[in-house]
Symmetry: C2
Subunit: 243 residues, 2 copies
């Protein structure tokens, strides 16, 4: 079972102040890139793994999805998500993504934003998603980029020549990484880009897109502090289809 | 046209001393991993893009390939490759991988070891390889890992806490990287992992394997200096099939 850090009071308070929590999808720099990986939403049955405050679930319905199931481990997030909609075609439920129990062939699209790097193993979730999709169904997800999760001491450092560099180490050494982010002891599970891809292929998916997201020049002009993100990508975006 | 650094006297002399030049495939740490990505070789028509001294071409024939075409830009390497075989089913030819001209459907396997990162663009070579393969044909290649090619100042540094870190920067800033390696001014072209994968998918290939190679514990026991390579992977290994 993944750590339920989102229900920690300090973490929840801090996380709730992020632009992506306040403004929703448009507050997330990578959203336009993820949206471009999604199929036309009209009529789709959608499951959102790690739905958080439900921003994507509501967007999916507005974009024409027939029904959306939002799953999360955090009771606090689910409570807020439920509060923010009265759409009967959106259902929220509590679930541990390590032990996902979905009806076979029940969905046309599985979506997951920045959740899978909290899981110690991908095997179960990949198999569960594959089985839950119809043939030809789509799986689109983002995770913290392995370059971002790898270091034993994450954080940019400035060298003698005043260049900002990311102190990469332990990239091929997969496993737990404990950081302090809104709360002490946040547990993530580092794995390589290849491990994400291999887990997909092993589960029977066909890879259709892989993106290492960083801000555009326009985004950096608007948010100058984002420039660092082009030095090392913060997010990995992946799209795949069930064969 | 890619830089022909391999015909530079200093570079050629230096490169010729590497274990992979002297001992061949077994002198290359990543060879066992690449070999595991290859299809059974019996009867295959093979093209090797950047064949160097011809070690892979000779191995392919010993492993049962019907015919092997080895292509390289370096006249010095091709001369040595030609000297080292009298097998009439191995043909060597000089070629610029940027302007590959291969007969349609003439090959069952295209192989390339540590060559494609010298090319400014992948589009032409991917299209040429796709057209040169039979449907179902295999494309297996290795390149210097994007984490390895990205930095503006490549080379491990030791931090205050005596950890060795790789000073990653400019990962999302693709393009020329000039390094000194056996000769000054060696030109490589950095691109992201996602760009390699996207180039393959855009050309019509299906990705079948992606590996970020680093040495095993056994290899590190034998070559202790290789331990750094687990901090940041030196090579990216890719396998794909023509649909």
């Amino acid at each position: 079972m993944a750590q339920n850090i989102y229900d920690d009071d300090s973490f929840f308070s801090g996380y709730s102040t992020l632009a992506r929590s306040v403004k929703g999808l448009d507050g997330a720099g990578e959203w336009a890139s993820i949206r471009a990986l999604l199929p036309p939403m009209a009529g789709l049955r959608v499951v959102d793994l790690g739905c958080g405050f439900g921003w994507f679930c509501r967007w999916a319905r507005e974009a024409g999805a027939a029904a959306v199931l939002g799953l999360d481990l955090s009771e606090k997030m689910l409570a807020k998500a439920a509060q923010d909609t009265s759409d009967p075609a959106i259902t929220y439920g509590r679930a541990d993504l390590d032990r996902l129990d979905l009806a076979p062939g029940a969905f046309d699209l599985a979506y997951s934003s920045l959740a899978l790097h909290y899981l110690a193993s991908l095997e179960a979730v990949m198999a569960a998603v594959h089985a839950a999709l119809v043939p030809g169904g789509h799986f689109v997800f983002s995770v913290e980029h392995p370059i971002y999760t790898a270091p034993t001491q994450p954080g940019f450092v400035t060298g003698d020549d005043s260049r900002r560099v990311w102190p990469l180490d332990a990239y091929l050494i997969e496993g737990r990484r404990v950081t302090n982010w809104f709360a002490p002891g946040v547990v993530k599970h580092h794995r390589t880009v290849a491990s994400y891809v291999t887990a997909l292929l092993s589960a029977g998916f066909t890879l259709t897109a892989l993106q290492e997201w960083g801000p555009s020049a326009e985004q950096i002009a608007e948010h100058p502090s984002w420039a660092d993100e082009r030095q090392r990508p913060p997010f990995l975006l992946v799209a795949a289809r069930r064969g």
